[in-house]
Amino acid sequence: MLGTAIGAALGVGAYTFVYAKGSSYLTDNPAACANCHVMNDHYSAWLKSSHRSVAVCNDCHTPSGFVAKYATKASNGFWHSYAFTTGDFPNPLRIKPHNLEIANNACRKCHAEMTTSMGLHGGSISCISCHQFVGHME
């Protein structure tokens, strides 16, 4: 009986993981981010953006370094699924300060040649306040 109960729980869990394409979230494939339809608009906007051939979602929305990257994925993954499951999130979607910083650092990493020579007002101004549509419209 114990075996059956635990087995059922494990089985359901494993099936849910496969059915929800859980393993796709461990990849860099941008399509994985649009597994939830809420990201459809952002995904199709990225497909038309200037950055589509040089950067995928993870390049801008996760930090560099294996541990930092997967910690960010885990944290955002949990909270995004939570929000999407309960339906409790604002519209239009708004980025959180921590994630904004990650995206901003990503700009500065790839465009270091340009940005290192800029003052950037002690970091008080973000790249995205002017270049807000480079990754995707909205």
Binding site: M1, V12, E138
Partner: protein, 463 residues
């Protein structure tokens, strides 16, 4: 023999573990079902359960295919105030002739100066704040203006769903049906219509694409485009999708007059859409809405020129149209639908404004109200100036000034009044084009003061 406490402990352990496993399984299944639902809402966005044709007028039939849009459409019964607009529900004792138990607040009571501006015209009898689309027919059937004036069937053009009645009256010819119904007395024509604005007034029933069905706009925009050198403009075939998202609203939210004995609804746009162009049009055809009861001036009534004023503003210039702010997109499940609960963007700031303007709601609201407050201040100055002029002409008339000596002042009254009413009747308190609105009010003040000056004897005159 195994001691019972030991058995009890291991049983408890198994029971606890089983319960934990069961809860995990339940949570897992619940999540699985939720994911399944989310995946399903991303598919099958539309079920056709009824066939729609060019004669399907009743919105509830369309609503069977488009329940989300229909639900929102029905919400236009809401009465909500904004600072300078919106309607408030005021209780009223219904009578047989006027069976409304709830009406909007009276604008004439809010600002009695309007009665002086409109003296001798039906609007001085009853004029209330406009309510939502759902009330457009009812509020016209039962306004006090019906008791003091004989209205023609033309009025229904914008107070009812008229596409199907026009097609019927014209035997399939929209323009002919329009002409037939214009000629009828209102009390007779009203029996031909059933609904306030409905789906078919803006949508093609086969493709759901937007289309213009109002003859007034079809002819008006053609005259306007001709003034820009575009000949034979056909709005339904020569406009972009984004333009249509303004044009369907411009079918009714415009300045107009009734032309000739046939009472043909006409939009006075053949010189252009600015207030100056429109007044010039009325001067050319020597049109008047009525003769002012106190001054004898032949004056004009401006009516809700939202489309014209918006055309002079920064949003129009940036390609932002009516539906972008008054029917912004919203997400329902996996669907992106335009909000058919047409209303003030101030009641829906996050969808209407924040899509483009990334500022807090309070900041955006205060930006709008700053514009409106400035316009309202200027409107009051212009209203006082107009009343000064009307008083002067009335007194001059009493003192026996000849028609000839009153003529310049009366002409200024006509101009001042039309410019002022153009902003007063417009439903955004200047927001649709802030600088233009204040310019128009500034011109109005100037006209009123020039009119007063025209009644004074020139300095140095002996007599």
């Amino acid at each position: 023999m195994i001691s019972s406490p030991v058995l009890g402990r291991s049983t408890r352990f198994i029971v606890t573990l089983s319960i934990a496993a069961a809860i995990t399984a339940i949570a897992g299944v619940a999540l699985l079902v939720n994911i399944l639902e989310r995946k399903q809402e991303a598919q099958n966005p539309f079920y056709r359960v009824v066939e729609l044709s060019d004669t399907t007028e009743a919105p509830d039939i369309w609503g069977a295919n488009f329940p989300l849009q229909y639900d929102d459409y029905r919400k236009t019964v809401d009465q909500v105030r904004t600072r300078y607009g919106g309607s408030e529900a005021v209780p009223r004792t219904p009578t047989n002739a006027y069976p409304r138990s709830i009406v909007a607040q009276s604008r004439l009571e809010e600002d009695p100066r309007l009665k002086t501006m409109w003296a001798g015209y039906a609007f001085a009898t009853d004029f209330r704040e406009e309510r939502g689309h759902a009330f457009m027919l009812e509020d016209q059937l039962f306004t006090g203006r019906q008791t003091v004036a004989q209205q023609p069937g033309t009025c229904l053009h914008c107070h009812a769903s008229v596409y199907v009645p026009y097609m019927k009256a014209g035997n399939g010819d929209l323009i002919r049906g329009f002409e037939e119904i214009n000629k009828l007395p209102y009390q007779e024509a009203k029996n031909l219509v059933t609904h306030p604005v409905a789906c078919i007034d803006c949508h093609n029933p086969k493709t759901m694409q937007l289309r213009v069905t109002r003859p007034g706009f079809i002819e008006g925009i053609r005259a306007f485009k001709a003034s820009q050198g575009i000949r034979d403009y056909d709005v339904n075939n020569m406009s972009t999708r984004q333009e249509m998202r303004a044009f369907v609203c411009g079918q009714c939210h415009v300045e107009y007059y009734f032309q000739g004995k046939e009472k043909r609804l006409t939009y006075p746009w053949s010189n252009g859409l600015r207030v100056d162009d429109i007044l010039r049009y009325y001067e050319e055809i020597k049109f008047k809405d009525w003769t002012h009861a106190e001054t004898g001036a032949e004056v004009l009534k401006a009516q809700h020129p939202e489309f014209e004023l918006w055309n002079q503003g920064i949003h129009a210039r940036s390609g932002v149209v009516c539906a972008d702010c008054h029917m912004p997109y919203k997400r329902v499940g996996a669907l992106k639908v335009s909000d058919h609960h047409v209303r003030s963007p101030l009641l829906n700031i996050h969808r209407a404004c924040q899509t483009c303007h990334r500022w807090p709601e309070e900041e955006l609201k205060s930006r709008v109200e700053t514009i409106q407050e400035r316009t309202y201040t200027m409107r009051n100055i212009a209203m006082n100036a107009l009343l000064d002029l009307i008083g002067d002409i009335r007194r001059a008339k009493k003192r026996g000034y000849s028609a000839e000596s009153l003529a310049p002042a009366r002409s200024y009254q006509r101009q001042a009044q039309f410019y002022l009413d153009f902003i007063e009747a417009e439903n955004s308190m200047g927001f649709h084009a802030p600088q233009e609105a204040v310019r128009i009010l500034g011109e109005s003040i100037n006209f009123s003061r020039l009119g007063q000056v025209a009644l004074r004897k020139p300095i140095g005159a002996t007599n």
